[in-house]
Amino acid sequence: MADTYLNLVNTGITKEIAKKLGLPRPSVLRRFDPSKPLVPGPVLLLGNGESVTTLSETMLAWNLDVRRHATPGQKLGAIVIAWDTLTAPGELSETALAVGSALKDLLPGGRVVTVSRPATDSDAPETAAVRQSVDGFVRSVAHEMRGGSTANGILLGEAADAGSTGLIATLRFLLSGRSAYVSGQFIEVSNDAGELPTDWNKPLDGKVAVVTGAARGIGAAIAKVLQRDGAQLIVVDVPQAGEQLAKVANKLHGTALQLDITAQDAGKRILEHALSRYGRLDIVVHNAGITRDKLLANMDEAKWNSVLAVNIESQLRMNRELLDSGKFGHNGRIVSLASTSGIAGNRGQSNYAASKAGVMGMVRATAPAIGSLGGSINAVAPGFIETDMTAKIPFLTRQLARRVSSLQQGGLPLDVAETVSFLASDAAAGVNGEVVRVCGQNMVGA
């Protein structure tokens, strides 16, 4: 699990050697720590979009040192760009170049966040062009970042504006250490829904959450982060994983529910457990998943069917049961685990990629229905994450998989969990039907 190379190039004599040899030097990422400031230094706010006032006021309310002009040599914690009223590509140049000269002053673990509008078919060609330009710009900047810094964008959908709660929540997520392994990504805020938490460190206070596949790895990490953020946990896994599951439940003061999610009544049993023990169910994280890798030519029916049954069919069935019950949906949040394999495909994973791509399709298509109830559904697509599963990948392949991302390292289960927790919060209610990649801008699966 441990990334020895990352430790070597960041400590002692081996750090100096790596520097001299010009070896790639992945940085230790700035992760969430409630005892540390939201961003490591002043925030430079550039651009002249409508959102500039909200962004400025919001960040000042968070006690951030917000500046409208760069002072050369003054170190920066983040650069935020209000680009939500662009109409033609020519308008980019001044701000883009200003970002460029400020990048040198960005502290390690710094953040670049743009706020813009998505290009749509109904835009004037010039407008669509410049809106799409932001996409290429952010993704390129993300590739150029150093010191574990990241660059991401927030898109304001048609039903959202500069005052939308989702904008504030997403901005805070992207500035914070919670988004450490998210880079080169766009998160769309599609509407005005959402409610800001009274305590940003307890955004899930009072919520009851279910996490499937929670006995180990990413699922256990998700359960831990949701609990840290204030939720009460019901952890679910197959009966065979019960020993580990009980340990997770006892650590988090939650309850263990041994259940095969492919059972026809899994959704009903989860709901029944939540309602009878806690009187409510607010968050469902569909994390349980399996791989049965084989080249398609060698794939048998059992391998294909089991992966589809666990990774997508069970989620479809449970969502239907939950939404039809009338007891979930008002402020109900579903977060599903997809995978970058489902975006770019992966050799030997035709079954897995099909199931995970299916998750993304399901999330987009379920969003309107759950959204109309005040809920939301989103997917998180992890890239290379350091788990027991990836520890089994042969050494060289594993090293390569780590280094081909902009952050030059694998992510941690914690990184996936942070994004899940963000999407599970009421503040993020305006984010609906999205797929957020947590992949360190991995070039595989781009």
């Binding site: 009966p239 019960g242 009980a246 340990k247 439940a249 006892n250 003061h253 309850t255």
Partner: protein
């Protein structure tokens, strides 16, 4: 309030309800839990219970559990288990030991405390390891060691040591022999089995039904909320889902071999030595309601009995036969009032001898003091989710297994009663009535 001198239990006191249970899969001795101690296994079973019901950090009224094969260092076994568990360290605990009835007696003790309002919540359990059994030094060696520790001068020490004989160095391993008869439990049962003329075929059929019922229970996920896997084991390792009468018929008799052709007891229709642990969460109705916990069944009543197997001409494991009619009479019930019968399968012969005794007019009149036969038990109501022949029998853990499974079965049905009967070494037995909620 009843004015007669014989109040029915449950009328004057509040209900004690079974909320749920948890056990680890039972493992044949020398198998998956060979190197697990009683403390390890009971802690695992207790922590699984805590996880299922979210009891982390909670102060439970009392935890009662025990083991039959117990190391002397484990004098405070249950309290040590609580201290190593996810429960609050402020949870008191005590050890119980009544041979194979330990688990059921622990349930009864906790239920009574709840009924009397002494505690709101309690956990009963039991554990046994035949693999990690205590081995003692011989009596001779023990005396030498004690004398040695009391000796002050070198000459006294040498004198003490000089009493040591080579034969003293052989260790004492625990056996299942009855101290007063020298006969093993199996040999005792062989006598009873022969006395009641229980056929080999009848015993094998009971064993087969036990395996089939247990396998079916697993198949339909019955144990999903009654069991937490341990050490890689996810099912009872003694379960043979594919066994058959033909396979069972091939086994050679292991007990009562001096009976010649009448030797009927084999490894297939006797329980193997087993390792495992079980726990049951009990509470008052208020406790369950306040904590949003399920209520599966009431513990209605219980009765213990003992027989004089040494001189009295009764079989070692026949005590439950005497306990049941006394308990039924006190509660004004007959066999017809029960939907499920959980008769612990120490040996197939034990269950069948008990049933036959209850059906026997003469026996019931002369031995049990009844007007005639107590009644018959409908086999479709007997051990419906399998019993010890299939699951195995870690002595003190069997009571908890039965109570939790029966409570769940009754709750699923929604109405009715269940009878529990557990025989024990020393000619003892404990029986109980559960009622669905």
């Amino acid at each position: 309030m009843a004015s007669s001198g014989n109040p029915t239990p449950g009328q004057q006191v509040r209900q004690a309800v079974v909320i749920g249970g948890n056990r680890i899969p039972f493992a044949r001795s020398g198998g998956a839990y060979t190197y697990s101690s009683n403390q390890d296994m009971l802690t695992a079973a207790l922590d699984g219970l805590v996880a299922r019901f979210g009891l982390q950090g909670e102060r439970i009224g009392a935890v009662a559990a025990g083991a039959v094969l117990k190391h002397s260092r484990d004098f405070n076994l249950t309290r040590e288990v609580v201290l190593g568990s996810a429960l609050s360290a402020h949870t008191p605990a005590y050890d119980v030991q009544q041979a194979c009835a330990t688990g059921l007696e622990a349930v009864v003790g906790i239920a009574n405390k709840i009924k009397l309002g002494m505690i709101e919540s309690g956990i009963a359990g039991g554990v046994d390891s035949a693999s990690d059994a205590p081995i003692a030094v011989s009596e001779g060696f023990r005396r030498v060691l004690l004398d040695l520790s009391r000796a002050k001068t070198t000459s006294q020490k040498l004198k003490a040591l000089s009493k040591l004989r080579p034969s003293d160095l052989a260790p004492n391993a625990p056996g299942t022999g009855e101290p007063r008869t020298g006969l093993s439990m199996g040999e005792h049962q062989a006598l009873t089995t022969a006395h009641w003329e229980i056929t080999r075929q009848a015993q094998d059929e009971l064993a087969l039904a036990s395996h089939k019922n247990l396998a079916n229970a697993y198949e339909r996920g019955f144990f999903d909320d009654l069991m937490t896997p341990y050490r890689g084991l996810t099912r009872d390792s003694n379960l043979r889902a594919d066994t058959s009468l033909e396979k069972l018929a091939k086994l050679k008799p292991v007990f009562g071999k001096n009976l010649g052709d009448n030797a009927t007891m084999t490894a297939g229709n006797s329980t193997p030595l087993t390792d495992g642990a079980s726990t049951v969460l009990l509470g008052s109705e208020d406790y369950a309601l306040q904590h949003d916990l399920p209520m599966l069944a009431n513990i209605v009543d219980a009765e213990a009995a003992a027989v004089d197997f040494v001189h009295g001409g009764e079989g070692l494991l026949m005590a439950p036969v005497y306990a049941v009619p006394r308990m039924l009479e006190r509660n004004g019930l007959t066999f017809d009032d029960f939907d499920y019968f959980e008769i612990h399968e120490a040996f197939a012969g034990t269950v069948l001898s008990s049933i036959k005794a209850w059906e026997n007019d003469d026996f019931c009149r002369t031995r049990l003091g009844l007007d005639g036969a107590l009644g018959s038990i409908d086999r479709t109501k007997l051990n419906v989710n399998g019993s010890s022949l299939a699951a195995g029998h870690p002595f003190a853990a069997t009571g908890g297994r039965i109570v939790a499974s029966l409570a769940k079965t009754l709750h699923e049905k929604g109405t009715g009663r269940g009878l529990v009967s557990v025989c024990a070494a020393g000619g003892q037995g404990v029986v109980a009535i559960l009622e669905a909620r």
